[in-house]
C-alpha cells in the first residue's frame, strides 16, 4: 500500500491508499460524527452524518466510504455541514418514535448523544409517529422498530462476525424495516444463534435485552471492543 498525503481541516496528514477519510481523520485525532459506522464492521454510508467537504467535489461526501487521495483537501466542520447533520438527526427523530424519557437506552444512546452534540433541541419537522411495532417473540431479546434508525449495524454484525446473516432489511424509505429471516418472527428464526451481538451494537434502544428496564438497557456492551480488535487484525 502506498502512502497518501492530504490536508484535513488545515492539518497535513498521511494515510494509506484505500483508507477512508474517516479512518485517517480519526487516526489523527480529528473527530467526525458517525452513527452507522462501527469499528470492525464494513462500511455502508447509510447515515450520512460523516459528510465532509472535499475541495473540487460538487457535493459533500461520506467520509466513511470515500477513500483518501493524494493532495485531497478535506474540511470536516463548517456551519453548513453542522446544519446538514442536525437535519439528519431531526429526520431520524421524526421518522420513528424516539421517546428518550421511557427508552431503555436513555443516557446510553448514540442518537441521543448526537442530538445533544449537534444542538438539536426540538423538531421543526412534523413527527410521522408511525405504528412501527415491537417483535418480542425471541426468548431473550426484542426489536422495537419505533427506535430503529436503519443503521444496519445488526445486519452487518450478524452476517460478518457471527456468520448467521439472520438480519436483513425489507422495504424502502419510511417503510423499511430490519427483519429476521425474510420476515419470520425473531423467536421463530431458524438461523439466529441468540448470541446477542446485534443487541450490543445497536446504537439506540431498538434492539434490547428483555428484562432490562428504562435507562438500563444499554449500560454495558462488553462485546463491542472485540470488534475493534478484529478490525486491527484484519
Amino acid at each position: 500500500m502506498s502512502v497518501v498525503t492530504l490536508v484535513i481541516d488545515g492539518h497535513d496528514v498521511a494515510g494509506q491508499s484505500g483508507q477512508s477519510i474517516l479512518s485517517v481523520a480519526r487516526e489523527h485525532g480529528i473527530a467526525i460524527p458517525t452513527l452507522c459506522h462501527l469499528d470492525g464492521l464494513s462500511e455502508v454510508g447509510a447515515c450520512r452524518l460523516c459528510m465532509v467537504e472535499v475541495r473540487g467535489a460538487r457535493r459533500p461526501l461520506a467520509a466513511c466510504v470515500t477513500e483518501v487521495q493524494e493532495h485531497m483537501e478535506v474540511t470536516t466542520t463548517t456551519d453548513e455541514l453542522t446544519d446538514y447533520r442536525r437535519q439528519i438527526i431531526e429526520l431520524l427523530f421524526t421518522e420513528r418514535n424516539h421517546v428518550c424519557a421511557v427508552c431503555i437506552a436513555n443516557r446510553h444512546c448514540e442518537l441521543q448523544d448526537l442530538a445533544k452534540a449537534l444542538g438539536m433541541t426540538h423538531f421543526d419537522l412534523p413527527a410521522l409517529n408511525p405504528s412501527a411495532g415491537v417483535d418480542a417473540s425471541h426468548e431473550r431479546f426484542g426489536i422495537d422498530h419505533n427506535r430503529c434508525v436503519l443503521c444496519t449495524r445488526c445486519v452487518r454484525v450478524c452476517a460478518e462476525i457471527e456468520g448467521a446473516h439472520t438480519w436483513d432489511v425489507r422495504g424502502r424509505a419510511s417503510e423499511a424495516r430490519v427483519i429476521t429471516d425474510l420476515g419470520t418472527p425473531w423467536g421463530e428464526s431458524p438461523t439466529c444463534t441468540s448470541c446477542g451481538k446485534c443487541v450490543q451494537v445497536c446504537p439506540t434502544g431498538a434492539l434490547f435485552e428483555k428484562g432490562r428496564a428504562v435507562a438500563e438497557g444499554k449500560e454495558r456492551r462488553p462485546y463491542v471492543p472485540f470488534l475493534v480488535a478484529r478490525n486491527r487484525r484484519s
Binding site: A136, D144, F208
Partner: protein, 472 residues
Amino acid sequence: MSEIIIEPVTRIEGHSKITVQLDDTGEVVDAHFHVTQFRGFERICVGRPLWEMPSLMARICGICPVSHLIASAKACDEILAVEIPPLARRLRRVMNLAQIVQSHALNFFHLSSADLVFGFDGDPKERSFAGVAEAAPELARDGVALRRFGQQIIERLGGKRIHPAWVVPGGVSRPLEAAQRDAILAEVPDARARAKRALGWYKEHLARFAEEADQFGNFPSLFMGLVHESGRAAYSEGLLKVVDANGWVLADQVDPRPYWEYLGEHVEPWSYLKSPYFKPLGYPDGLYRVGPLARLNVIDRLGTPSADGELAEYRERLGRYPQSSFHYHWARLIEIVHCIDAIEHILSEPDILDHHVRAEARVNRNEGVGVAEAPRGTLIHHYQVDDHGLVESANLVIATGHNNLAMNAAVKQVARHYVHGPDVAEGILNRMEAAIRCFDPCLSCSTHAIGQMPLAIELRAPDGTIVREVAR
C-alpha cells in the same frame, strides 16, 4: 334556570370546571365537577414491552410519579409471577412514603394554606402561596422544606426527583448506599419538627373554619383504603378495607387485586373522569372516599407513636369517623408526620443496605394488577400482556377517580349552602373550589390528557342559559 360556571378551578392539579344550575328562584338545583382534560395512557401503552411500563406510566404525573411506578411495578411483578426480595419491598415503601410527604406538603402549603391564612373571603390578590410567604413566612418555609425533604429522598434513592427509573419489575434497580441513608436520616428531625409545627398551626386555626368544616363535603359515605393485616396503615402493600359512615365494616382483609368484583366504573357524559362506585351498593349509592381522610377512618392506628398521638387527638376532637371532607387537611398533616416517622424506622433497620433488591423473571402470567396507596388514595394498575410481554390492554383506576362522586357531592353541598341567586361573591366561588382542593385531586393523573391544570364555575338558568361564568 340559570347556570354559574367556574372555569378553570384553580390551585388544584389538572383542568376542570364547576357548573351550578339554579332554578327560577335562584336556588341551586344541581352542581357538577367536570374534568375537562383527557390523557389516554390506557391506550398509549398498548403494544409496549412490559419492562417499560413502570417508567412509562410514571409519566402520567410529575407530582406523584412514584405512586404510578409502584402500582405499575407491582402489576408487572404479578405478570412475572415473582415474589420480590423483602428488602426491595421496604425500599419501595420508603420512596412511596417520601412522595406522600412531598405531595401532601404541596397540597396543604402551596395550594390550600392561602385559604386558611387569609380566609376564604380574603383578597384574591394576596390569597396565594406568595401571599402566605409574606404573611406567614414560617409556614411557607416549612412547606418548601417538607417538599424538599420528600423530593430529596426520592432523588437519593432513585437518582432523580421526578420520574426516577429505579422502581422496576421485580424490585428496584440498585441497593441503597450508606451515605444516602445517612443523609436522609440526618434530615428527619428537622422535617419532623416542621411537620409538627404546621400541625400545631392548623389545630390552632381550625376553629375559625367551623362553617366550612360543616359544609365542605360533610356527608355520610363509605371509606376505602389499604390496611395492614394488623390494622395499622399500609401504603405500598396491604389489604383493602371498606367501612361506612358509622364504622360498620363492609369489607376487610380483601385482596385488592380482583377489584372489578367490588368496584364498578361508571361513566358520565359530562366528565372525562370515571366515577367508580362500590358495587354491592350500586351506582350512585356506592359512593366512597379514599385518601388521607378515608385512610385514617379505615385503619386502627398508624403504627408510629408520635403520629398515633396526633391521630388520637384528631379522633377525640372530630369523632372516630369524621365525615367532613374539610378534615382531609388535618388527616394529610398527620400522615406527613407518620410518613416521616416510618421513613426513619425503615431506614434504621440494620439490613437496609443489603444487596438483594431484584428478582429476575420472564413473563409467567398474562395478567397482573398492582395496587398501592397514592397520596390521594388507592391506585390500581391492571395490565394484560401477550406471551411475549407486550401490553394488550391496561385499565387504570386512579385515586382521584375514586373520589369523583364525593367531589361532585361536595360541590353540590357547598353550592346549596352558599349560593342563593346568580350574584355570587368571589369568596363563595372560592369555597366551591376549596371544597375540591380538600380532596387534592390530580386530574392529569386520572383521565389520561392534554393540557395543564386549572378548573371553572358555571351558574345556569332553568332554560340552560349561562348566567355567570368564572374562569381564570
